[in-house]
């Protein structure tokens, strides 16, 4: 039996996106370029490294909760080397909802390792992997900076509040990943061709939304923008002194 890795990806506006509001007072998503969350790119890259080293013994499934506009992003993950994908057809609204969808899939299908990003870059909550581990009762680590698999265990380097901790923990596991776990990868022409025929299974949504948002606002940063010349460096030094004293 190959080892089954589920890589959960979010579809988020490109990191250079300028955020503006649409007429309904929510962040305007039209015209933005969507990408796989950068942390999930790291997670997927690591999974692909495992598969490249051992093609027969690793099976990678991409898991995404979201509407069909994310399919190009999912295809790109398949082009990078994932075997198949599952998309839960609903608008992802919050971390608990996404975690419930992941957990309900995992309960029906055999999965050994769930890789996610440390956090998504739209809501930055870092909660999906934690909720998922709580719902499934699996052990959890995040942020994971190194990952190796040995038999039924993972060797991890985890960044904690005290420093980086090397540890061994047995499968199944839910991990939130961040660099330098792997280098981002670029799909090859062959990968892109192969991805065209790989399956994307669409599942019905089962989990409810948690929140009702009222409106969004752009967070205007009103910085002072005061520029000093070299000869006035002492004034800047006074400002630093004052800042550190207060």
């Amino acid at each position: 039996m190959p080892m089954k890795i589920l890589v959960c990806i979010s579809a988020v506006p490109d990191t250079t996106s300028k955020i503006s509001l649409s007429s309904n007072n929510f962040v305007n998503m039209d015209g933005l370029t969507f990408i796989t969350g950068p942390y999930e790119d790291y997670a997927l890259s690591r999974a692909i490294e495992f598969k490249e080293a051992n093609p027969e013994s690793i099976e990678i499934t991409i898991f995404h909760v979201g509407l069909e506009d994310a399919e190009p992003i999912i295809r790109k993950c398949l082009a990078l080397g994932a075997d198949s994908a599952v998309r839960v057809h609903t608008k992802a609204n919050d971390s608990l909802q996404v975690a419930n969808e992941i957990a309900s899939y995992v309960k029906e299908n055999s999965v050994d390792l769930i890789l996610m990003g440390k956090e998504s870059i739209d809501y930055n909550t870092g909660l999906v992997h934690l909720y998922t581990s709580n719902i499934l009762g699996w052990n959890h680590y995040s942020p994971v900076m190194n990952l190796a698999i040995e038999n039924d265990s993972c060797l991890l380097k985890v960044e904690s509040s005290v420093g980086s901790v090397q540890l061994t923990s047995s499968l199944p596991l839910v991990l939130g990943c961040q660099e330098p776990i792997a280098e981002w990868k670029i799909p090859s022409m062959r990968g892109i061709m192969a991805a065209r025929t790989k399956p994307i299974l669409v599942r019905e949504a089962s989990a409810p939304n948690s929140f009702t948002y009222e409106k969004d606002a752009v967070n205007e940063q009103n910085r002072k923008g005061i520029l000093f010349q070299r000869e006035n460096l002492s004034e800047l030094i006074d400002i630093i002194k004052k800042e550190v004293r207060s």
Binding site: E179, V218, N219, L233
Partner: protein, 315 residues
């Protein structure tokens, strides 16, 4: 609401500046609406007594047994949740961090509450919290109302405006957590003594403009002079000039210090996404066109190798 459980840091016998925001919030809740609410404060720091703002009906617990690794197993989290009252009429509060988040989510599942992520400010209304949530790495805000019975995950820049008037000395009860048996720890590489980056009040960041890792001496000197933590841009950690734990930005650590001094960093949008919670930003760069100047409170166009040593000398 009958109980509030909150997670605070205690440094040198005093709550950290962030933890003060939590205590002010709790004071506000007690004064405005739930005078009789029972307060449980948890800390991972070892203390026996602390000066706390005067709250009524308060208990302080020091959780022992996680400080060597900074990780918590499910059994350890369960034992923390068991200390919290079984009463589901609870509000749980803590700043977002990998450690605290594990407890917040477990509490939410156990008490059937929702984690309200990235709370950057809130107002008290008689039956709800009016929440402002930071989204898109601080580029935007989202507004919502949630029940008082919620788990609040606070953004590093969270503030609750009020001034603590009087403080009282609070004794602390030590709680020994069970051993963590779910993993075998093989080694721990502790972060250098000094301020923890994510929580630091002052941060000095440096980028590719420093040209060589050996040039970080002056950055470290400046940081140590003002009691700051050190940070770096992503390319700097990618090429191993600095450890990954110093990388701030969209794909790194998000910081919200009182003061951020950026040296030889261009100010790419992905870098700004990690530092836009900073109160005051000072930028040192030799290129007057560097985008960072547009996001600075104070800037100086000049050579870091001239400016930084000059600051170190005169501060």
């Amino acid at each position: 609401m009958k109980n509030i459980a909150a997670f605070i840091d205690i440094k040198e016998g005093k709550p950290s500046s962030r933890s003060k925001q939590i205590l002010q919030l709790i004071q506000g809740i007690q004064q405005k609406m739930y005078a009789s609410v029972a307060i449980q404060l948890f800390t991972f720091d070892t203390v026996d007594k602390v000066d706390l703002p005067s709250l009524s009906n308060v208990k302080l617990y020091s959780l022992q047994g996680a400080s060597d690794t900074g990780l918590l197993s499910k059994e350890q989290i369960d034992s923390i949740l068991t200390l919290m009252s079984d009463d589901v009429s609870t509000c749980v509060i803590g700043y977002k961090s990998s450690l605290i988040d594990t407890i917040l989510t477990a509490a939410a599942i156990r008490f059937n509450l929702k984690v309200i992520p990235q709370v950057i400010s809130l107002e008290l209304t008689s039956d709800q919290f009016a929440i402002q949530q930071s989204i898109f790495s601080g580029k935007a805000l989202s507004y919502l109302h949630v029940s008082h019975l919620s788990v609040l995950q606070l953004n590093p820049a969270f503030e609750f405006a009020s001034s603590i008037v009087d403080t009282i000395e609070q004794h602390c009860e030590n709680i020994a957590l069970p051993a963590n048996t779910t993993c075998q720890v093989t080694s721990i590489n502790k972060i250098a003594q000094g301020a923890n980056l994510a929580e630091a009040n002052y941060v000095v960041g440096a980028g590719r403009g420093l040209k060589d890792p050996s040039n970080w001496n002056m950055i470290e000197e400046l940081a140590s002079k003002i009691g700051a933590a050190t940070a770096c841009s992503k390319p700097v950690s990618d090429i191993n000039w600095r450890p990954h734990s110093e990388h701030v930005g969209q794909t790194g650590i998000k910081i919200a210090p009182q003061l951020y001094i950026a040296c030889g960093i261009s100010g790419a949008i992905q870098h700004l996404a990690g530092i836009n919670g900073s109160k005051t930003i000072i930028v040192i760069n030799n290129d007057p066109e560097a985008p960072f100047f547009k996001y600075a409170d104070y800037g100086i166009v000049g050579d870091v190798f001239d400016i930084v040593p000059e600051i170190v000398k005169n501060i």
